[in-house]
Symmetry: C2
Subunit: 254 residues, 2 copies
């Protein structure tokens, strides 16, 4: 189980970890059942005990371990005495429905797991249907990413693909790519330019390097989020979330 703390271990076993009461409650909400639960009786609060009961009732294998052993499996001090092991879902584009997906978040070589997790949470909150990770982005089942997603990782379909692969999969002319762009047009006016019959892809670049050349070339709409010149830029998770919220508020991509 400890090997699942590394990307290599997760890849070999095709499993990942989710720790803490709130995160595991979210896995239940999304009907994403762990293959196994480890818990330390002495560390559980009432909410944790009730959660354990629900997993038991649903036929999930649960195993009591010592507080010390649990601390070795846990990545943070906030495990609250309970950790789940989950099977990694398939992340190839081929397993994604072409018809049901209307709005996609695309991570363009983002390495910060906290930002990506926060963006997954916003993406699920604002009705997006799919998250696509570029090959050089952080691995989708990284522990910090899973925790920052606050459980959204269990609710949002995940795929790994380059922007070219995504473009090919949906077919030329069927996709509209937008991104935060300091030289773009201002919200909310720019939203009028979106075509409701196309797949909307919201691309998020890394804070250091910006958008990749491959995404820049395909970019349809650059969105400038107006702000004071006293800061150079917004946090990537904040900028992406503001764009998703504006689209949600205007029922674009529904």
């Amino acid at each position: 189980v400890r090997s699942l703390q590394t990307a290599k271990g997760r890849d070999r076993h095709r499993q990942f970890l989710g720790e803490g009461v709130r995160l595991l409650e979210e896995s239940l909400r999304h009907n994403c059942m762990p293959s196994k639960i480890y818990y330390a009786e002495s560390q559980l609060n009432d909410r944790g005990r009730s959660l354990l009961g629900r997993f038991r009732k649903d036929g999930v294998m649960v195993e009591a371990i010592s507080h010390r052993t649990l601390e070795q499996i846990a990545e943070t001090e906030h495990s609250q005495g309970i950790i789940g092991v989950f099977a990694m879902p398939a992340t190839d584009l081929g397993s994604v429905s072409r018809e049901q997906v209307r709005t996609v978040i695309y991570f363009d070589n983002i390495s910060d797991p906290g930002n990506v997790g926060t963006l997954l949470r916003s993406a699920l909150a604002f009705g997006l249907n799919l998250a696509v990770f570029s090959p050089h982005s952080v691995e989708p089942f990284n522990g910090k990413l899973v925790r920052s997603s606050a459980g959204a990782i269990f609710g949002l379909p995940i795929a790994t693909a380059s922007i070219a692969e995504l473009h090919d999969y949906y077919g030329n002319g069927n996709m509209q790519i937008l991104a935060a762009d300091q030289h773009g047009e201002e919200l909310p006016g720019v939203l009028r330019r979106l075509r409701r019959n196309k797949l909307l892809v919201i691309a998020i670049g890394s804070e250091g390097a910006g958008l990749s050349d491959a995404v820049q070339e395909l970019l349809d709409v650059g969105i400038r989020i107006g702000h004071s010149r006293r800061v150079e830029s917004l946090n990537a998770a904040v900028a992406g979330s503001i764009i998703m919220q504006e689209l949600y508020q205007r029922r674009i991509g529904k």
Copy 2:
């Protein structure tokens, strides 16, 4: 210098650390000069060397140290060979102008330094004038907070005060407190209820515990950010940033 990695050390010496090229560039932008710069020549890139030159020109004391020594002072692997020591500004309310402040962000017992840093960055971006930390919030000059602020810590005045002290300082009836609240009214309609002649305080509660009783009692306007029921809530930094961006976009609090 290493003692500045802990809250105790920072409090004793009334100094804090800022590491990395981008962060130190922001300190220059805000004319917030370090009392001292440490650098490891072998680790500097061109941008770092040019930054060092600017500090030198402005009369900042700079000292070359070994890569190894620098690694001991740095808190991350991303120091890029340069670290600044800054004097802590006064954070008592008394040093804050009563007249020039129109919009305030209030951290209501938030302990997550990453969220607070991100919110400081958004607050500066969206034209707020002051950040107030409740006594049980994370310490304002925490290393992770400083890094997450992307330099906003150098640009935004900071105070430490309880909501009651803030209320007393500005006088009864002169302040309007708003906060994200799942049972509140929806954006953007609720913004019509804001009074332009009052000090606006945007209170941010912790994700676990929500708003404190003290803030709840004084709350004037609860703002619900509409989102899908597939997530329980938004990230605190995202929710606060969305509210600040909506106010900025509508020129409220200007």
